[in-house]
Symmetry: none
Subunit: 242 residues, 2 copies
């Protein structure tokens, strides 16, 4: 076993086991369908109890990363699934989880006068400037997303933040604004000249278009986000029960 567990660490054993399992999930052989070592053995190897190990495994099963079957064993879920409805992973985190390396192609941050749509959502006047952020991201040789975000002045962003970090992290740690609610609208579109240029595709090619309205605890608007995803590069997944 490449990894091990530190019994003297203040970090709970099950938490250590969890991060260890996450590392295993990243590994190619498991990505390719190899079954994990069975609970009993693995617990023995890591010198923790089966119950403790199970605690970690179950969490990952719940997140949909692992699939288990009696007798057959535990494997990495082979879902194409990317973004689960109930979680707040950032784009980079989502991709990392799937073993895709993300490159930032463009990153522009400017102050602009909001258009009607944005001003209306933010409940401000159009003569009050807001921070606009544009990003193009993708795999090393293939841009596949173009993002535009507008931030409410209330958030207190200056424009000098390190926008390579996850957005929600910046807002949370530096400005103590916590995003708790988002409403999204997903549709298909044909790429116009602007989007086609950004994503290096032909005009008229299909793109997945996602509008996102983000709110804080008090249901006050904090971000308006538009995402244009090159077709085939992104699958939006939703799980719902009744």
């Amino acid at each position: 076993m490449r990894y091990s567990i530190d019994h003297k660490s203040p970090i709970p054993l099950h938490a250590q086991a969890e991060t260890l399992l996450r590392k295993l999930i990243e590994e190619e052989e498991y990505q390719n369908g190899k079954t994990f070592p069975n609970e009993v053995d693995l617990a023995k190897q890591l010198a923790i109890s089966r119950t403790t190990l199970r605690q970690a495994i179950n969490k990952l099963v719940f997140e949909g990363l692992l699939v288990r079957k009696k007798r057959t064993g535990t494997k990495v879920a082979n879902t194409v699934v990317s973004s689960r409805s109930n979680n707040w992973l950032s784009f980079s985190q989502e991709m990392k989880l799937r073993g895709i390396v993300i490159k930032n192609f463009e990153l522009h941050v400017t102050w602009v006068y909001p258009d009607e749509m944005v001003a209306n959502f933010f409940e401000i006047k159009t003569d009050r400037k807001v921070l606009k952020m544009e990003k193009v991201r993708g795999k090393p040789n293939e841009p596949f997303v173009y993002f535009v975000s507008y931030f409410h002045p209330r958030v207190g962003l200056t424009g000098d933040e390190d926008f390579k970090k996850p957005l929600y992290e910046i807002m949370e740690s530096e400005h103590s604004v916590v995003a708790t609610l988002s409403k999204e609208e997903i549709s298909a579109q044909a790429a116009d000249t602007f989007i086609a240029d950004k994503l290096k595709i032909e005009v008229g090619n299909p793109v997945l278009f996602r509008k996102r309205f983000v709110f804080d605890q008090g249901e006050r608007p904090i971000e308006y986000n538009l995402g244009y995803y090159k077709a085939g590069s992104f699958v939006y997944s939703v799980e719902s029960t009744r």
Copy 2:
């Protein structure tokens, strides 16, 4: 305690405890912030072990329905006003809600041998026929969706049902199969010749593609559904909290 647990039932105790807790969560007093009875007492009352009860509680904590703190106890998470993304409306219901009148253009029902994908999802062999249903629907002069559904033999559909009625109604009332879980994957695609013909659009035009996996209470697969929506005619909306 209003509810109790049946030790003779084949349903696992932790699962029973889970549904019991879900009922409690619905109750007004707990919605209003009353703390739950503590683990130790509750376990004693229900005559199950603390560990088993904990299994149930933890699941609900994962789902974000409950919040726990040491010494303070367990409470219902005060998520922003009922923000469930309950998209269990049928297509016709959804459209009715938006004031759009729907016309059925085509409706084919046949028995076919499933392809790998379908057989795999249903966990059956490819030599066992399944019911396939195709629909084209839209506004009077403009078809905008092409649906394909496959149904697990378990559902017991004969093919002679009245498929103009909402599907989930048919399954529920006539075959007592209740769909309780669905996983959906949404992406953008270019229309191929087949889809272009069905939707009366040009080949290469963008379509929103939605794959839907539907399960019953026991998380057994019952339906595999594909939907191709003409771009601009359909917006998928999701609301999520954390």
